[in-house]
């Protein structure tokens, strides 16, 4: 039996053939090595991220996450919910807190859920995978699993927005969180704790609707990584990963820069450091290849 079990909310972008399907693959390998069992919430739905608000009012949006929590409480009773996507985690936890504070909304949410034959108790803690790693497992245990230290790679830890605010990791600062840097060090790579853009916004969903404005911010995030001598950027967020990785050619075109900076997930790093294959780490999912990680994984 696995040492730890969680009720898992994978989220839309991790689905097969979707933009962060590579994230999910590396998370699965990472969890195998850490003896974590993830039980999917059956029939989960979209959380509406932070952008559905033009079409959905407050209650319909809350109902979305309420349904996921209710399904989890019914099928994965007693297990804490864990999400890998920052927006999923945020929306789910926010819903839980809002419904806890507001009795009339809670009653209305349950009225809506009853239409689908569901009932929300709202007693389930909702965690981000990073909380599981840092708080439940800890750096020491992670360090013990490292078989191939990521020596000689300098990595900028880009935490971004929603993994960090408004909830964040217990005991970490909103303005200068250090856990990603500690994780990088634990895996034998070299962290850059003074990477000044570590919590800069990448534009989130507005990278689609306001591309020029967002790409200006993304440019700053990559530029600072280069200025700090980084070989690659690591992030816990699928929106950050996508935004910072895939627009580099367009940014180069607009600004005359020569960016080619790999952007990976913490789970990519961990899967490689734990000695698993490049495929398990989903290195083939990089639009900008992370060659140094490939070299270590193929060693």
């Amino acid at each position: 039996m696995a040492k730890r079990e969680y009720s898992f909310y994978p989220g839309c972008s991790s689905q097969k053939g979707a933009s962060s399907s590579n994230y999910l693959r590396s998370v699965k390998a990472m969890c195998e090595e850490l003896d974590i069992q993830l039980n999917d919430i059956p029939d989960w739905n979209c959380c509406s991220a932070s952008i559905g608000y033009a079409g959905g009012g407050e209650l319909p949006r809350l109902a979305l996450s309420a349904r996921n929590i209710a399904l989890s409480e019914q099928h994965n009773a007693g297990q804490e919910i864990v999400a890998t996507c920052a927006a999923c985690w945020l929306a789910t936890r926010e819903t839980s807190e809002r419904l806890e504070e507001d009795e009339s909304l809670f009653a209305e949410a349950n009225q809506a859920l009853a239409e689908a034959g569901l009932k929300l108790k709202n007693e389930t803690p909702i965690k981000h995978m990073c909380e599981v790693l840092v708080e439940d497992i800890g750096y020491d245990e992670i360090g013990e699993k490292v078989k191939k230290p990521l020596e000689g790679i300098r990595i900028a830890g880009y935490v971004g927005c929603q993994t960090n605010r408004p909830f964040g990791i217990h005991g970490e600062s909103y303005e200068n969180p250090m856990y990603l840097d500690k994780l990088v060090d634990t895996l034998g790579a070299e962290s850059i704790p003074a990477y000044e853009k570590k919590v800069q916004c990448c534009g989130g969903a507005l990278a689609f609707s306001e591309p020029e404005k967002s790409q200006e911010m993304i440019k700053g995030i990559i530029e600072a990584a280069y200025d700090n001598g980084a070989d690659m950027i690591v992030t816990p967020c699928p929106v950050c990963q996508m935004n910072v990785e895939v627009y580099q050619d367009q940014i180069n075109e607009t600004y005359g820069t020569k960016f080619k900076m790999p952007v990976v997930y913490y789970s990519t790093l961990m899967t490689v450091a734990f000695g698993r294959s490049a495929k398990d780490a989903a290195l083939d999912g990089q639009v900008i290849p992370a060659k140094q990680l490939e070299a270590i994984a193929n060693r």
């Binding site: 009012g57 949410a109 689908a116």
Partner: protein
């Protein structure tokens, strides 16, 4: 202008703050703002906001209903939550911005052709249909949201990105025909409908 908008104007007259408190998500917090300006200095796209959050809160109290609700400022919120963790009064600013946007949309006052307003609506429609977001269809409708000719132009520009995503299996062309969905789609739709009904009823009651 919508009928609901007229009813709200008559119902609240010059009391815009009360209107916000009763009808906007987390609107009851607005009066707690002490105008320190920290939130305005925190918005990543702040230089593009005609009225940053602090100013919006002041305008609400000053009864500038039309200016606030037709503004495109709150549609520039990236949901970065900088403001929320910094506000000394603990205002849930992000949610108030979303709430104002939702309310303006509901009243038919949201600026036409605001790109994020359009995208946010597309996103919602996309997720409600199947219970899960279909990134490809969302992307396609996004490219074409400004009409066909414009869409082809945008799509061409994004082609390189699409190809990169395709090559790495992070985009699936088959999503156009089928795609991911929740199994209990019927229950899902009933739930959303009910939630919508309950919320509409609450707002209608406020409209007198």
């Amino acid at each position: 202008m919508s009928e609901l908008n007229q009813q709200m104007i008559e119902q609240y007259r010059t009391r815009f703050l009360q209107e916000v408190e009763a009808n906007v998500e987390e609107g009851e917090w607005v009066k707690m703002c002490m105008q320190c300006g920290v939130c305005s200095g925190s918005c990543p796209l702040g230089k593009h906001w005609a009225h940053p959050p602090q100013e919006i809160f002041m305008m609400i109290r000053a009864g500038k209903r039309e200016e606030v609700l037709t503004s495109d400022s709150m549609w520039m919120c990236t949901s970065c939550y900088n403001c929320i963790v910094r506000c000394p009064r603990g205002l849930p600013i992000t949610h108030i911005m979303h709430g104002l946007a939702t309310y303006a949309k509901r009243l038919g006052l949201a600026p036409k052709n605001q790109p994020t307003a359009k995208f946010a609506q597309l996103f919602w429609d996309n997720l409600v249909k199947k219970g899960r977001v279909n990134e490809l269809k969302l992307g396609l409708s996004l490219y074409f949201m400004n009409g066909f000719g414009e869409g082809i132009k945008v799509a061409m520009k994004q082609q390189a990105i699409g190809l990169g995503m395709l090559r790495t299996k992070r985009m699936n062309p088959m999503e156009v025909v089928g795609g991911h969905a929740v199994k209990d789609l019927d229950g899902f739709h009933k739930m959303i409908r009910k939630a919508q009904e309950l919320e509409d009823a609450r707002i209608k009651q406020n409209a007198g």
